[in-house]
């Protein structure tokens, strides 16, 4: 259990999410892949701030904000991801009402 193992787990989850986002036709599955990618980034950010030396360790009291920056960033990423999934699900449901489909390959009017 060290920095590298956490980062490799994060990279593996990110790759799985990337595959899900790129290869699936169902918009809900694409959203699930996005959530996996957000979580992978969070693991990496928190592990980095846990194990890496801060950029400046000069005077006393300067360490605290730098030691916990990764956790604060992860909180904001979770906030943005929650807003994103709420809007994404709303869009999926709106498309399903109007078009009777949730397949991203069927919603291609802009391309014609």
């Amino acid at each position: 259990m060290n920095l590298e193992s956490f980062l490799i787990v994060g990279a593996a989850i990110f790759a799985i999410g990337l595959y899900g986002v790129l290869s699936k036709r169902n918009a809900v599955t694409v959203l699930m892949g996005l959530e996996l990618m957000f979580n992978a980034v969070n693991i990496s950010a928190v592990a980095m701030s846990r194990y890496i030396v801060p950029a400046r360790i000069g005077s006393a009291g300067e360490m605290l904000p730098q030691l916990l920056t990764g956790q604060v960033f992860a909180i904001f990423i979770i906030t943005v991801a929650a807003a994103e999934v709420a809007l994404g699900v709303a869009i999926v449901i709106a498309i399903y009402r109007n078009r009777e489909t949730v397949f991203v390959t069927d919603v291609n009017e802009m391309r014609r």
Binding site: L7, I13, L18, A47, R56, V89, I93
Partner: protein, 202 residues
């Protein structure tokens, strides 16, 4: 040095880490591979709980609780609602024509990341702080050397910060990052109104 009490890499924490990592990755694979969307969303919950366990292992207890509340409590329920409100639940997750290139791209990404992670010389706190590394001098990322007396104080401060992170994260959110905090609340309000406007019955 140790990074605070209860964080030594004992056999138990190592075992918990690998069990958690394996179950998280297997559940994530199930999310993208299962054809039944409802089961896929349940495996997403398993994967998100595993990520919360990772946060606890990283001494981010507040984040772990937030992860359970927001992801497991709210986001997964939203996704399960979306699955149930749309049709074709049992075979609703077919692949598009990009399946093979997407898999190759994801594997390439994974290989590149693992190569970079294993070959980078990380500036680890454990190596740089004085307790069990007498030969190395403590140097910050900018290259400034730190004296021996200050190094001991730095180690003390790291141990103290990680002894209880919750109040310190709260203090940071309401001091250094207060602007981002307020912007996030406005963003959440906008997303709330937008989601309601999108699905409202006219």
């Amino acid at each position: 040095m140790t990074l605070g009490a209860g964080t030594e890499a004992t056999f138990a924490t190592t075992a918990v880490f690998w069990i958690t990592a394996a179950s998280t990755i297997i559940a994530a694979l199930a999310v993208v591979q299962l054809r039944n969307l409802f089961r896929a969303s349940l495996f997403l919950v398993v994967s998100l709980v595993g990520v919360a366990a990772m946060f606890i292992l990283l001494r981010a207890e507040f984040l772990a609780v937030v992860q359970i509340l927001i992801y497991v409590g709210a986001v997964s329920v939203l996704i399960i609602f979306a699955v149930l409100m749309t049709r074709d639940v049992t075979d609703g997750s077919p692949s598009n024509r990009l399946r093979l290139p997407a898999g190759v791209l994801a594997l390439l990404f994974l290989a590149c990341s693992v190569f970079v992670i294993l070959n980078t010389d990380w500036a680890l706190l454990e190596d740089r702080l004085p307790a069990d590394s007498a030969s190395k001098q403590l140097v910050d990322l900018s290259g400034n050397a730190i004296g021996a007396d200050r190094a001991a104080a730095v180690e003390q401060e790291v141990v103290e910060v990680y002894s209880n992170t919750v109040p310190r994260v709260a203090g940071l959110l309401l001091s250094d990052y207060v602007l981002a905090f307020e912007a996030a609340s406005v963003l959440l309000l906008a997303a709330l109104i937008g989601a309601i406007a999108l699905v409202r019955e006219r």
